[in-house]
Protein backbone atom coordinates (compact mmCIF):
# COMPACT_ATOMS: atom_id res chain seq x y z
CA UNK A 1 0.00 0.00 0.00
CA UNK A 2 2.79 2.32 1.00
CA UNK A 3 4.66 1.48 -2.23
CA UNK A 4 1.64 2.33 -4.37
CA UNK A 5 1.28 5.64 -2.55
CA UNK A 6 4.95 6.57 -3.05
CA UNK A 7 4.84 5.51 -6.70
CA UNK A 8 1.71 7.54 -7.43
CA UNK A 9 3.21 10.63 -5.79
CA UNK A 10 6.44 10.17 -7.75
CA UNK A 11 4.38 9.65 -10.92
CA UNK A 12 2.49 12.90 -10.50
CA UNK A 13 5.68 14.86 -9.88
CA UNK A 14 7.47 13.34 -12.90
CA UNK A 15 4.46 13.98 -15.13
CA UNK A 16 4.46 17.60 -13.97
CA UNK A 17 8.14 18.03 -14.69
CA UNK A 18 7.94 16.30 -18.09
CA UNK A 19 4.95 18.37 -19.19
CA UNK A 20 6.64 21.48 -17.83
CA UNK A 21 9.50 20.84 -20.24
CA UNK A 22 7.20 21.38 -23.25
CA UNK A 23 7.85 25.13 -22.97
CA UNK A 24 10.49 26.84 -25.08
CA UNK A 25 13.35 28.82 -23.60
CA UNK A 26 17.06 29.37 -24.18
CA UNK A 27 18.38 26.89 -26.73
CA UNK A 28 15.24 24.78 -26.49
CA UNK A 29 12.52 25.38 -29.07
CA UNK A 30 10.00 23.48 -26.96
CA UNK A 31 7.65 20.72 -28.06
CA UNK A 32 6.04 21.27 -31.44
CA UNK A 33 2.38 20.51 -31.90
CA UNK A 34 2.51 19.88 -35.62
CA UNK A 35 6.17 19.49 -36.60
CA UNK A 36 5.41 18.97 -40.27
CA UNK A 37 3.76 22.39 -40.32
CA UNK A 38 6.67 24.19 -38.65
CA UNK A 39 9.21 22.60 -40.98
CA UNK A 40 8.22 23.72 -44.43
CA UNK A 41 8.32 21.24 -47.30
CA UNK A 42 8.82 24.05 -49.76
CA UNK A 43 12.05 26.06 -49.68
CA UNK A 44 11.58 28.90 -47.21
CA UNK A 45 13.60 32.09 -47.04
CA UNK A 46 15.96 32.34 -44.06
CA UNK A 47 15.43 28.68 -43.14
CA UNK A 48 17.83 25.94 -44.05
CA UNK A 49 18.23 22.56 -42.38
CA UNK A 50 21.35 20.82 -43.59
CA UNK A 51 21.22 17.89 -41.17
CA UNK A 52 19.80 14.94 -43.14
CA UNK A 53 18.77 13.05 -40.00
CA UNK A 54 16.48 15.74 -38.59
CA UNK A 55 12.93 14.46 -38.35
CA UNK A 56 13.87 10.81 -39.10
CA UNK A 57 11.21 9.60 -36.69
CA UNK A 58 8.22 10.76 -38.75
CA UNK A 59 9.71 10.74 -42.21
CA UNK A 60 8.06 9.02 -45.16
CA UNK A 61 10.09 10.83 -47.78
CA UNK A 62 11.06 8.93 -50.90
CA UNK A 63 14.69 10.04 -50.70
CA UNK A 64 14.86 8.54 -47.19
CA UNK A 65 16.09 11.78 -45.66
CA UNK A 66 14.68 13.21 -42.46
CA UNK A 67 11.32 14.96 -42.69
CA UNK A 68 12.80 18.36 -41.76
CA UNK A 69 15.78 18.27 -44.15
CA UNK A 70 15.43 21.39 -46.30
CA UNK A 71 18.43 22.27 -48.44
CA UNK A 72 18.95 22.61 -52.14
CA UNK A 73 21.85 20.33 -53.07
CA UNK A 74 22.23 22.00 -56.46
CA UNK A 75 23.09 25.42 -55.02
CA UNK A 76 26.39 26.61 -53.54
CA UNK A 77 26.53 25.88 -49.79
CA UNK A 78 23.21 24.00 -50.27
CA UNK A 79 21.43 27.34 -49.89
CA UNK A 80 17.77 27.75 -50.76
CA UNK A 81 18.42 31.12 -52.36
CA UNK A 82 19.56 31.14 -55.94
CA UNK A 83 21.34 33.87 -57.84
CA UNK A 84 19.90 34.99 -61.18
CA UNK A 85 21.19 33.17 -64.25
CA UNK A 86 24.41 34.62 -65.61
CA UNK A 87 24.15 37.26 -68.32
CA UNK A 88 20.51 37.95 -67.60
CA UNK A 89 19.49 41.53 -66.93
CA UNK A 90 17.11 42.20 -64.05
CA UNK A 91 14.59 44.96 -64.57
CA UNK A 92 12.31 46.27 -61.87
CA UNK A 93 8.68 47.24 -62.28
CA UNK A 94 9.55 50.80 -63.27
CA UNK A 95 11.78 49.47 -66.02
CA UNK A 96 15.03 50.50 -64.31
CA UNK A 97 18.03 48.71 -65.75
CA UNK A 98 21.00 47.83 -63.55
CA UNK A 99 23.41 50.64 -62.72
CA UNK A 100 26.39 50.14 -65.01
CA UNK A 101 28.92 52.75 -63.90
CA UNK A 102 32.01 51.60 -61.99
CA UNK A 103 32.89 53.06 -58.60
CA UNK A 104 35.56 55.43 -60.03
CA UNK A 105 33.37 56.84 -62.84
CA UNK A 106 32.24 59.82 -60.79
CA UNK A 107 32.35 62.33 -63.61
CA UNK A 108 30.04 60.30 -65.81
CA UNK A 109 27.72 59.70 -62.83
CA UNK A 110 27.44 63.44 -62.15
CA UNK A 111 25.63 63.90 -65.48
CA UNK A 112 22.75 61.58 -64.61
CA UNK A 113 19.48 63.37 -63.86
CA UNK A 114 17.12 62.41 -61.05
CA UNK A 115 14.30 60.44 -62.72
CA UNK A 116 11.92 60.90 -59.77
CA UNK A 117 9.80 64.00 -59.91
CA UNK A 118 10.10 66.20 -56.84
CA UNK A 119 6.98 66.44 -54.67
CA UNK A 120 6.14 66.79 -50.98
CA UNK A 121 5.35 63.09 -50.82
CA UNK A 122 8.73 62.20 -52.29
CA UNK A 123 10.45 64.49 -49.77
CA UNK A 124 8.55 62.82 -46.92
CA UNK A 125 9.58 59.39 -48.11
CA UNK A 126 13.09 60.67 -48.65
CA UNK A 127 13.24 61.84 -45.07
CA UNK A 128 12.09 58.46 -43.74
CA UNK A 129 14.64 56.69 -45.93
CA UNK A 130 17.40 59.13 -44.98
CA UNK A 131 16.73 58.54 -41.29
CA UNK A 132 16.76 54.78 -41.83
CA UNK A 133 19.83 54.39 -44.00
CA UNK A 134 21.98 57.51 -43.60
CA UNK A 135 21.44 59.18 -40.24
CA UNK A 136 23.31 56.59 -38.15
CA UNK A 137 26.53 57.94 -39.70
CA UNK A 138 25.72 61.32 -41.28
CA UNK A 139 23.46 62.41 -38.41
CA UNK A 140 19.83 63.49 -38.57
CA UNK A 141 20.89 66.96 -39.73
CA UNK A 142 23.58 65.70 -42.12
CA UNK A 143 26.49 67.14 -40.17
CA UNK A 144 28.42 63.87 -39.98
CA UNK A 145 27.63 63.42 -36.30
CA UNK A 146 25.64 60.17 -36.22
CA UNK A 147 26.51 57.87 -33.33
CA UNK A 148 27.85 55.06 -35.51
CA UNK A 149 29.64 57.63 -37.67
CA UNK A 150 31.56 58.99 -34.71
CA UNK A 151 33.04 55.52 -34.17
CA UNK A 152 33.81 54.92 -37.84
CA UNK A 153 35.30 58.39 -38.30
CA UNK A 154 35.76 60.38 -41.48
CA UNK A 155 32.05 60.80 -42.17
CA UNK A 156 31.22 63.60 -44.61
CA UNK A 157 29.47 66.69 -43.26
CA UNK A 158 26.84 66.99 -45.98
CA UNK A 159 26.54 70.71 -45.26
CA UNK A 160 30.30 71.23 -45.63
CA UNK A 161 31.62 73.20 -48.59
CA UNK A 162 33.15 70.17 -50.29
CA UNK A 163 29.75 68.48 -50.56
CA UNK A 164 27.09 71.16 -50.68
CA UNK A 165 27.28 71.81 -54.42
CA UNK A 166 27.63 68.23 -55.59
CA UNK A 167 25.29 67.24 -58.43
CA UNK A 168 22.45 64.80 -57.73
CA UNK A 169 23.96 62.10 -59.92
CA UNK A 170 27.14 62.23 -57.86
CA UNK A 171 25.21 61.68 -54.62
CA UNK A 172 23.28 58.79 -56.18
CA UNK A 173 26.54 57.27 -57.37
CA UNK A 174 28.21 57.52 -53.97
CA UNK A 175 25.21 55.93 -52.21
CA UNK A 176 25.26 53.10 -54.75
CA UNK A 177 28.97 52.42 -54.99
CA UNK A 178 30.47 54.02 -51.89
CA UNK A 179 33.41 56.42 -51.79
CA UNK A 180 36.35 56.87 -49.44
CA UNK A 181 35.35 55.32 -46.13
CA UNK A 182 31.69 54.93 -47.07
CA UNK A 183 30.57 51.48 -48.15
CA UNK A 184 28.38 50.68 -51.16
CA UNK A 185 24.69 50.78 -50.26
CA UNK A 186 23.35 49.70 -53.66
CA UNK A 187 22.40 46.25 -52.39
CA UNK A 188 20.39 47.64 -49.47
CA UNK A 189 18.38 50.45 -51.01
CA UNK A 190 16.33 50.24 -54.19
CA UNK A 191 17.26 52.73 -56.97
CA UNK A 192 13.94 54.60 -56.54
CA UNK A 193 14.59 55.00 -52.83
CA UNK A 194 18.13 56.19 -53.49
CA UNK A 195 16.86 58.92 -55.81
CA UNK A 196 14.33 59.93 -53.14
CA UNK A 197 17.14 60.20 -50.61
CA UNK A 198 19.04 62.36 -53.12
CA UNK A 199 16.02 64.70 -53.34
CA UNK A 200 15.81 64.93 -49.56
CA UNK A 201 19.53 65.60 -49.15
CA UNK A 202 19.49 68.31 -51.83
CA UNK A 203 16.23 70.01 -50.81
CA UNK A 204 16.13 69.72 -47.04
CA UNK A 205 19.64 69.08 -45.75
CA UNK A 206 21.63 71.16 -48.21
CA UNK A 207 18.73 73.55 -48.97
CA UNK A 208 19.76 73.81 -52.62
Amino acid sequence: MKLVKTLSILGIVTAGIVLGACRAGGEDQGLEFAPQMYHSVAYEPLTQITDESQGDWLSNREDEKGEFYNSNIYNPHNMNMREPVENTVPRNKNGYLPYRLKAFELEEAALIENPIELSDEVLDEGETLYLQYCSSCHGAGGEGDGKAGLIIGGVANLKGGAYINLPEGHIFHVITKGKGRMGAHGSQITPESRWKIVHYVKQEIQKQ
Binding site: G16, C22, A42, S136, Q188
Partner: protein, 420 residues
Protein backbone atom coordinates in the same frame (compact mmCIF):
# COMPACT_ATOMS: atom_id res chain seq x y z
CA UNK B 1 43.32 73.06 7.71
CA UNK B 2 47.06 72.88 7.36
CA UNK B 3 46.95 69.67 5.31
CA UNK B 4 44.29 71.09 3.04
CA UNK B 5 46.30 74.19 2.30
CA UNK B 6 49.43 72.20 1.57
CA UNK B 7 47.50 69.91 -0.75
CA UNK B 8 46.23 72.86 -2.73
CA UNK B 9 49.76 74.16 -2.88
CA UNK B 10 51.10 70.91 -4.28
CA UNK B 11 48.42 70.76 -6.91
CA UNK B 12 49.04 74.33 -7.95
CA UNK B 13 52.75 73.65 -8.27
CA UNK B 14 52.15 70.54 -10.34
CA UNK B 15 49.75 72.45 -12.52
CA UNK B 16 52.22 75.25 -13.24
CA UNK B 17 54.95 72.74 -13.87
CA UNK B 18 52.75 70.86 -16.29
CA UNK B 19 51.83 74.03 -18.13
CA UNK B 20 55.49 75.07 -18.26
CA UNK B 21 56.45 71.61 -19.47
CA UNK B 22 53.83 71.67 -22.18
CA UNK B 23 54.85 75.16 -23.15
CA UNK B 24 58.46 74.07 -23.60
CA UNK B 25 57.47 70.94 -25.51
CA UNK B 26 54.99 72.95 -27.50
CA UNK B 27 57.50 75.54 -28.56
CA UNK B 28 59.92 72.82 -29.51
CA UNK B 29 57.60 70.64 -31.58
CA UNK B 30 55.11 73.09 -32.95
CA UNK B 31 57.20 76.00 -34.01
CA UNK B 32 54.48 77.41 -36.23
CA UNK B 33 55.45 79.68 -39.08
CA UNK B 34 55.52 83.23 -37.62
CA UNK B 35 53.45 84.43 -40.59
CA UNK B 36 50.44 82.54 -39.19
CA UNK B 37 48.28 85.00 -37.28
CA UNK B 38 47.75 84.40 -33.58
CA UNK B 39 44.78 86.76 -33.28
CA UNK B 40 41.63 85.59 -31.50
CA UNK B 41 39.35 86.51 -34.42
CA UNK B 42 41.42 84.50 -36.88
CA UNK B 43 41.43 81.49 -34.57
CA UNK B 44 37.69 81.56 -33.97
CA UNK B 45 36.92 82.08 -37.68
CA UNK B 46 39.27 79.22 -38.44
CA UNK B 47 37.48 77.01 -35.95
CA UNK B 48 34.21 77.47 -37.85
CA UNK B 49 35.91 76.45 -41.10
CA UNK B 50 37.55 73.49 -39.37
CA UNK B 51 34.32 72.23 -37.80
CA UNK B 52 32.40 72.44 -41.05
CA UNK B 53 35.00 70.81 -43.27
CA UNK B 54 37.79 69.03 -41.43
CA UNK B 55 36.74 67.72 -38.04
CA UNK B 56 35.24 64.38 -39.08
CA UNK B 57 38.63 63.24 -40.42
CA UNK B 58 41.23 65.34 -38.61
CA UNK B 59 42.18 66.16 -35.04
CA UNK B 60 44.66 68.83 -34.03
CA UNK B 61 47.00 66.74 -31.89
CA UNK B 62 46.10 63.14 -32.63
CA UNK B 63 45.99 60.94 -35.67
CA UNK B 64 42.45 60.18 -36.78
CA UNK B 65 41.32 59.17 -40.26
CA UNK B 66 43.89 61.69 -41.47
CA UNK B 67 47.05 63.02 -39.83
CA UNK B 68 47.24 65.32 -36.79
CA UNK B 69 47.31 68.83 -38.15
CA UNK B 70 49.09 71.04 -35.61
CA UNK B 71 52.59 72.00 -36.72
CA UNK B 72 51.89 71.69 -40.45
CA UNK B 73 53.39 75.12 -41.15
CA UNK B 74 56.53 73.95 -39.36
CA UNK B 75 56.74 70.74 -41.36
CA UNK B 76 55.89 72.42 -44.66
CA UNK B 77 55.54 75.94 -46.01
CA UNK B 78 52.28 77.86 -45.65
CA UNK B 79 51.90 77.81 -49.45
CA UNK B 80 52.27 74.06 -49.55
CA UNK B 81 49.69 73.59 -46.79
CA UNK B 82 47.20 75.81 -48.61
CA UNK B 83 47.79 74.04 -51.91
CA UNK B 84 47.29 70.65 -50.25
CA UNK B 85 44.09 71.71 -48.49
CA UNK B 86 42.60 73.16 -51.65
CA UNK B 87 43.36 70.20 -53.87
CA UNK B 88 45.46 67.42 -52.39
CA UNK B 89 45.20 65.23 -55.47
CA UNK B 90 46.89 67.91 -57.56
CA UNK B 91 49.84 68.11 -55.14
CA UNK B 92 50.14 64.33 -55.07
CA UNK B 93 50.01 64.14 -58.86
CA UNK B 94 52.75 66.78 -59.12
CA UNK B 95 55.12 64.21 -57.58
CA UNK B 96 55.66 65.97 -54.26
CA UNK B 97 57.44 63.43 -52.02
CA UNK B 98 55.94 64.55 -48.72
CA UNK B 99 52.40 64.50 -50.14
CA UNK B 100 52.89 61.06 -51.68
CA UNK B 101 54.26 59.63 -48.44
CA UNK B 102 51.28 60.99 -46.55
CA UNK B 103 48.86 59.59 -49.13
CA UNK B 104 50.42 56.16 -48.80
CA UNK B 105 50.61 56.27 -44.99
CA UNK B 106 46.88 56.92 -44.74
CA UNK B 107 45.80 54.11 -47.02
CA UNK B 108 45.49 56.07 -50.31
CA UNK B 109 42.41 57.80 -48.99
CA UNK B 110 41.56 60.88 -51.02
CA UNK B 111 40.78 64.14 -49.27
CA UNK B 112 37.99 65.91 -51.15
CA UNK B 113 39.11 69.15 -52.83
CA UNK B 114 38.26 72.37 -50.97
CA UNK B 115 38.39 74.79 -53.87
CA UNK B 116 35.56 76.84 -52.34
CA UNK B 117 37.76 78.07 -49.47
CA UNK B 118 39.00 81.63 -49.94
CA UNK B 119 42.52 82.68 -49.08
CA UNK B 120 41.25 84.35 -45.88
CA UNK B 121 39.47 81.13 -44.93
CA UNK B 122 42.71 79.24 -45.38
CA UNK B 123 44.69 81.78 -43.31
CA UNK B 124 42.13 81.56 -40.50
CA UNK B 125 42.10 77.79 -40.71
CA UNK B 126 45.87 77.65 -40.34
CA UNK B 127 45.67 80.01 -37.33
CA UNK B 128 43.20 77.66 -35.70
CA UNK B 129 45.28 74.60 -36.58
CA UNK B 130 48.42 76.11 -35.06
CA UNK B 131 47.06 78.05 -32.08
CA UNK B 132 43.45 76.96 -31.48
CA UNK B 133 42.23 74.77 -28.62
CA UNK B 134 45.64 73.98 -27.21
CA UNK B 135 45.14 71.11 -24.80
CA UNK B 136 46.65 71.41 -21.36
CA UNK B 137 48.05 67.92 -20.67
CA UNK B 138 47.14 68.08 -16.95
CA UNK B 139 43.56 68.99 -17.79
CA UNK B 140 43.49 66.29 -20.46
CA UNK B 141 44.62 63.67 -17.95
CA UNK B 142 41.95 64.64 -15.43
CA UNK B 143 39.30 64.88 -18.15
CA UNK B 144 40.30 61.40 -19.35
CA UNK B 145 39.95 60.07 -15.81
CA UNK B 146 36.49 61.58 -15.44
CA UNK B 147 35.43 60.22 -18.81
CA UNK B 148 36.42 56.72 -17.74
CA UNK B 149 34.40 57.00 -14.55
CA UNK B 150 31.32 58.26 -16.33
CA UNK B 151 31.36 55.43 -18.85
CA UNK B 152 31.85 52.91 -16.02
CA UNK B 153 28.88 54.02 -13.91
CA UNK B 154 25.39 52.98 -14.93
CA UNK B 155 21.97 54.21 -13.79
CA UNK B 156 20.28 53.04 -10.56
CA UNK B 157 21.91 51.16 -7.67
CA UNK B 158 24.86 49.03 -8.77
CA UNK B 159 24.40 45.29 -8.17
CA UNK B 160 27.33 44.98 -5.76
CA UNK B 161 25.66 47.46 -3.38
CA UNK B 162 22.43 45.45 -3.53
CA UNK B 163 24.24 42.25 -2.51
CA UNK B 164 25.94 44.07 0.37
CA UNK B 165 22.59 45.44 1.56
CA UNK B 166 21.00 41.96 1.43
CA UNK B 167 23.92 40.38 3.34
CA UNK B 168 23.75 43.08 6.04
CA UNK B 169 19.99 42.56 6.40
CA UNK B 170 20.41 38.79 6.82
CA UNK B 171 23.11 39.31 9.48
CA UNK B 172 20.86 41.75 11.38
CA UNK B 173 17.95 39.27 11.29
CA UNK B 174 20.18 36.44 12.56
CA UNK B 175 21.40 38.67 15.40
CA UNK B 176 17.78 39.46 16.35
CA UNK B 177 17.01 35.71 16.39
CA UNK B 178 19.96 35.01 18.68
CA UNK B 179 18.99 37.85 21.01
CA UNK B 180 15.38 36.60 21.15
CA UNK B 181 16.59 33.07 21.97
CA UNK B 182 18.75 34.45 24.75
CA UNK B 183 15.83 36.43 26.16
CA UNK B 184 13.61 33.32 26.13
CA UNK B 185 16.18 31.21 27.99
CA UNK B 186 16.80 33.95 30.55
CA UNK B 187 13.06 34.40 31.13
CA UNK B 188 12.49 30.63 31.42
CA UNK B 189 15.26 30.35 34.01
CA UNK B 190 13.81 33.29 35.95
CA UNK B 191 10.25 31.90 35.92
CA UNK B 192 11.48 28.42 36.96
CA UNK B 193 13.04 29.99 40.07
CA UNK B 194 9.63 31.36 41.12
CA UNK B 195 7.11 29.32 43.01
CA UNK B 196 4.48 28.46 40.38
CA UNK B 197 1.38 26.25 40.31
CA UNK B 198 1.90 22.84 38.56
CA UNK B 199 -0.08 23.84 35.40
CA UNK B 200 1.95 26.93 34.72
CA UNK B 201 5.19 25.09 35.36
CA UNK B 202 4.32 22.47 32.74
CA UNK B 203 3.39 25.22 30.28
CA UNK B 204 6.70 27.00 30.82
CA UNK B 205 8.91 23.92 30.52
CA UNK B 206 7.06 22.25 27.59
CA UNK B 207 9.25 21.34 24.60
CA UNK B 208 8.45 22.18 21.00
CA UNK B 209 8.01 18.80 19.26
CA UNK B 210 8.75 19.06 15.52
CA UNK B 211 8.00 15.39 14.82
CA UNK B 212 4.46 15.75 16.14
CA UNK B 213 3.78 18.77 13.91
CA UNK B 214 5.13 16.96 10.83
CA UNK B 215 2.82 14.00 11.45
CA UNK B 216 -0.28 16.10 12.10
CA UNK B 217 -3.09 15.88 9.50
CA UNK B 218 -3.27 19.62 9.00
CA UNK B 219 0.40 19.86 8.02
CA UNK B 220 0.20 16.92 5.59
CA UNK B 221 -2.90 18.33 3.90
CA UNK B 222 -1.33 21.76 3.47
CA UNK B 223 1.92 20.37 2.06
CA UNK B 224 0.14 17.98 -0.31
CA UNK B 225 -2.13 20.77 -1.54
CA UNK B 226 0.86 23.04 -2.24
CA UNK B 227 2.80 20.29 -4.06
CA UNK B 228 -0.21 19.31 -6.17
CA UNK B 229 -0.92 22.95 -7.04
CA UNK B 230 2.70 23.52 -8.08
CA UNK B 231 2.86 20.35 -10.16
CA UNK B 232 -0.47 21.12 -11.79
CA UNK B 233 0.64 24.67 -12.62
CA UNK B 234 3.90 23.48 -14.26
CA UNK B 235 2.01 20.82 -16.18
CA UNK B 236 -0.71 23.17 -17.43
CA UNK B 237 1.83 25.88 -18.30
CA UNK B 238 3.84 23.26 -20.14
CA UNK B 239 0.82 22.01 -22.07
CA UNK B 240 -0.13 25.56 -23.05
CA UNK B 241 3.47 25.97 -24.24
CA UNK B 242 3.21 23.15 -26.78
CA UNK B 243 3.83 24.63 -30.22
CA UNK B 244 4.71 28.05 -28.80
CA UNK B 245 8.31 29.12 -29.01
CA UNK B 246 8.07 32.22 -26.84
CA UNK B 247 11.37 32.74 -25.02
CA UNK B 248 13.42 30.76 -27.56
CA UNK B 249 16.87 32.37 -27.61
CA UNK B 250 19.32 30.26 -29.61
CA UNK B 251 23.06 30.98 -29.59
CA UNK B 252 23.96 32.59 -32.90
CA UNK B 253 27.15 31.89 -34.88
CA UNK B 254 28.31 35.44 -34.13
CA UNK B 255 27.65 37.00 -30.73
CA UNK B 256 25.95 39.99 -32.36
CA UNK B 257 24.45 42.42 -29.86
CA UNK B 258 21.26 44.29 -30.77
CA UNK B 259 21.69 46.22 -27.52
CA UNK B 260 24.90 47.74 -28.90
CA UNK B 261 23.90 48.29 -32.53
CA UNK B 262 20.23 49.23 -32.25
CA UNK B 263 20.39 50.54 -28.67
CA UNK B 264 23.62 52.41 -28.03
CA UNK B 265 24.50 53.27 -31.64
CA UNK B 266 20.87 53.91 -32.64
CA UNK B 267 21.19 52.22 -36.02
CA UNK B 268 17.69 51.87 -37.48
CA UNK B 269 16.34 48.31 -37.86
CA UNK B 270 15.75 48.87 -41.58
CA UNK B 271 19.42 49.61 -42.21
CA UNK B 272 20.17 45.88 -41.94
CA UNK B 273 16.73 44.27 -42.25
CA UNK B 274 16.22 45.72 -45.70
CA UNK B 275 13.25 43.60 -46.73
CA UNK B 276 10.96 44.65 -43.94
CA UNK B 277 9.14 47.35 -45.91
CA UNK B 278 9.17 45.71 -49.33
CA UNK B 279 8.61 42.02 -48.79
CA UNK B 280 7.33 39.10 -46.76
CA UNK B 281 10.59 38.59 -44.87
CA UNK B 282 12.48 41.26 -42.98
CA UNK B 283 15.75 39.65 -44.20
CA UNK B 284 18.91 38.85 -42.32
CA UNK B 285 21.66 41.14 -43.65
CA UNK B 286 24.36 39.68 -45.87
CA UNK B 287 27.97 40.17 -44.80
CA UNK B 288 28.52 43.07 -47.21
CA UNK B 289 26.09 45.15 -45.13
CA UNK B 290 28.12 44.39 -41.99
CA UNK B 291 31.22 45.45 -43.90
CA UNK B 292 29.84 48.96 -44.54
CA UNK B 293 30.95 49.75 -40.99
CA UNK B 294 33.19 46.84 -40.04
CA UNK B 295 35.71 47.56 -42.77
CA UNK B 296 36.78 50.29 -40.35
CA UNK B 297 35.42 49.18 -36.97
CA UNK B 298 37.49 46.12 -36.09
CA UNK B 299 37.00 45.92 -32.34
CA UNK B 300 34.65 47.01 -29.61
CA UNK B 301 35.14 49.81 -27.09
CA UNK B 302 38.17 51.14 -28.95
CA UNK B 303 40.32 48.09 -28.16
CA UNK B 304 43.35 47.30 -30.33
CA UNK B 305 43.42 44.40 -32.76
CA UNK B 306 40.52 42.51 -34.33
CA UNK B 307 37.74 41.15 -32.16
CA UNK B 308 37.27 37.37 -32.67
CA UNK B 309 33.55 37.92 -33.33
CA UNK B 310 34.19 40.56 -36.01
CA UNK B 311 36.88 38.28 -37.48
CA UNK B 312 34.06 35.83 -38.29
CA UNK B 313 32.56 38.42 -40.68
CA UNK B 314 35.94 38.84 -42.40
CA UNK B 315 36.27 35.06 -42.75
CA UNK B 316 32.79 34.84 -44.26
CA UNK B 317 33.60 37.60 -46.76
CA UNK B 318 37.06 36.24 -47.63
CA UNK B 319 35.79 32.71 -48.24
CA UNK B 320 32.50 33.85 -49.79
CA UNK B 321 30.67 31.65 -47.30
CA UNK B 322 27.29 32.61 -45.82
CA UNK B 323 26.98 33.16 -42.06
CA UNK B 324 24.49 30.55 -40.83
CA UNK B 325 22.31 32.55 -38.45
CA UNK B 326 19.76 30.55 -36.50
CA UNK B 327 16.17 31.47 -37.21
CA UNK B 328 14.36 32.62 -34.06
CA UNK B 329 10.80 33.46 -35.21
CA UNK B 330 9.05 30.80 -37.23
CA UNK B 331 5.37 30.64 -38.14
CA UNK B 332 3.91 27.29 -39.18
CA UNK B 333 3.14 26.88 -42.89
CA UNK B 334 -0.59 27.05 -42.17
CA UNK B 335 -0.41 30.79 -41.49
CA UNK B 336 0.69 33.52 -43.87
CA UNK B 337 2.44 36.59 -42.54
CA UNK B 338 3.89 39.49 -44.47
CA UNK B 339 6.21 42.09 -42.95
CA UNK B 340 5.67 44.90 -45.47
CA UNK B 341 1.90 44.72 -44.94
CA UNK B 342 2.35 45.37 -41.22
CA UNK B 343 5.38 47.67 -41.14
CA UNK B 344 4.95 49.78 -44.29
CA UNK B 345 1.16 49.89 -44.67
CA UNK B 346 0.13 49.30 -41.05
CA UNK B 347 2.91 51.54 -39.71
CA UNK B 348 3.52 49.21 -36.76
CA UNK B 349 6.75 49.61 -34.81
CA UNK B 350 9.09 46.60 -34.87
CA UNK B 351 9.03 46.52 -31.07
CA UNK B 352 5.25 45.92 -30.97
CA UNK B 353 5.86 42.28 -31.89
CA UNK B 354 9.57 41.78 -31.33
CA UNK B 355 9.73 43.42 -27.90
CA UNK B 356 12.61 45.52 -26.58
CA UNK B 357 15.05 44.44 -29.31
CA UNK B 358 17.25 47.47 -28.60
CA UNK B 359 17.97 46.05 -25.13
CA UNK B 360 18.64 42.44 -26.16
CA UNK B 361 22.17 41.05 -26.03
CA UNK B 362 20.82 37.78 -27.43
CA UNK B 363 17.56 37.93 -29.38
CA UNK B 364 14.69 35.94 -27.92
CA UNK B 365 11.14 35.45 -29.15
CA UNK B 366 9.20 38.09 -27.23
CA UNK B 367 5.63 37.39 -28.39
CA UNK B 368 3.82 34.08 -28.41
CA UNK B 369 2.91 34.33 -32.13
CA UNK B 370 -0.27 32.35 -31.45
CA UNK B 371 -3.47 32.97 -33.38
CA UNK B 372 -5.09 34.44 -30.26
CA UNK B 373 -2.28 36.94 -30.08
CA UNK B 374 -2.71 37.95 -33.76
CA UNK B 375 -6.50 38.25 -33.44
CA UNK B 376 -6.25 40.28 -30.24
CA UNK B 377 -4.17 42.88 -32.04
CA UNK B 378 -6.44 42.86 -35.10
CA UNK B 379 -9.39 43.60 -32.83
CA UNK B 380 -7.73 46.56 -31.14
CA UNK B 381 -5.57 48.18 -33.80
CA UNK B 382 -6.90 51.12 -35.75
CA UNK B 383 -6.17 51.32 -39.46
CA UNK B 384 -3.48 53.83 -40.38
CA UNK B 385 -5.76 55.37 -43.00
CA UNK B 386 -4.32 58.90 -42.93
CA UNK B 387 -2.80 59.82 -46.24
CA UNK B 388 -3.54 56.43 -47.77
CA UNK B 389 -6.10 56.76 -50.57
CA UNK B 390 -6.68 53.02 -50.62
CA UNK B 391 -8.74 53.31 -47.44
CA UNK B 392 -10.81 56.41 -48.39
CA UNK B 393 -13.91 54.44 -49.45
CA UNK B 394 -13.66 52.09 -46.46
CA UNK B 395 -13.40 55.02 -44.05
CA UNK B 396 -16.45 56.60 -45.73
CA UNK B 397 -18.46 53.37 -45.46
CA UNK B 398 -17.48 53.02 -41.84
CA UNK B 399 -18.32 56.61 -40.87
CA UNK B 400 -21.74 55.60 -39.42
CA UNK B 401 -20.14 53.46 -36.73
CA UNK B 402 -19.18 54.90 -33.35
CA UNK B 403 -15.87 53.00 -33.25
CA UNK B 404 -12.80 53.85 -35.26
CA UNK B 405 -11.98 51.76 -38.32
CA UNK B 406 -10.06 48.78 -37.04
CA UNK B 407 -8.31 45.83 -38.67
CA UNK B 408 -11.24 43.58 -37.75
CA UNK B 409 -13.58 45.80 -39.78
CA UNK B 410 -11.72 45.21 -43.01
CA UNK B 411 -11.46 41.46 -42.73
CA UNK B 412 -8.75 41.07 -40.12
CA UNK B 413 -10.69 38.23 -38.48
CA UNK B 414 -11.51 36.29 -41.65
CA UNK B 415 -9.95 32.82 -41.81
CA UNK B 416 -8.84 33.08 -45.42
CA UNK B 417 -6.90 36.31 -44.84
CA UNK B 418 -4.09 34.29 -43.27
CA UNK B 419 -4.97 30.63 -43.83
CA UNK B 420 -4.97 29.73 -47.49
Amino acid sequence: MLSKRSLVGVRWNFHTLAVLFFFLIGTQVFAADPAVSESEEAISAGKTVFNANCKTCHKLDQKAVGPALRGITDRQSIEWAKRFIVNSQEVIASGDDYANDLYEEYGNLQMPPHTFLTDTDLDNLLSYIEYGDKVDPAAEASAGGEGGEVSGGGGGIPTEYLTIIVVVLVIVLLLILIVLGLIISVLTKYINKQDLPEDDKEFVSQKFDIGKVLKSDGFIIIVTAIVIALVAKTAIDGLYGVGIQQGYAPTQPIAYSHALHAGTLEIECQYCHTGVEIGKSANIPSANICMNCHTHVQNVEGKEGISPEIQKIYDAVDNNKPIEWVRVHNLPDLAYFNHSQHVKVGEIECQTCHGPIEEMEVVYQHSSLTMGWCIDCHRQTEIAADGNEYYDKLVQLHSDSKDALKVKDIGGLECAKCHY
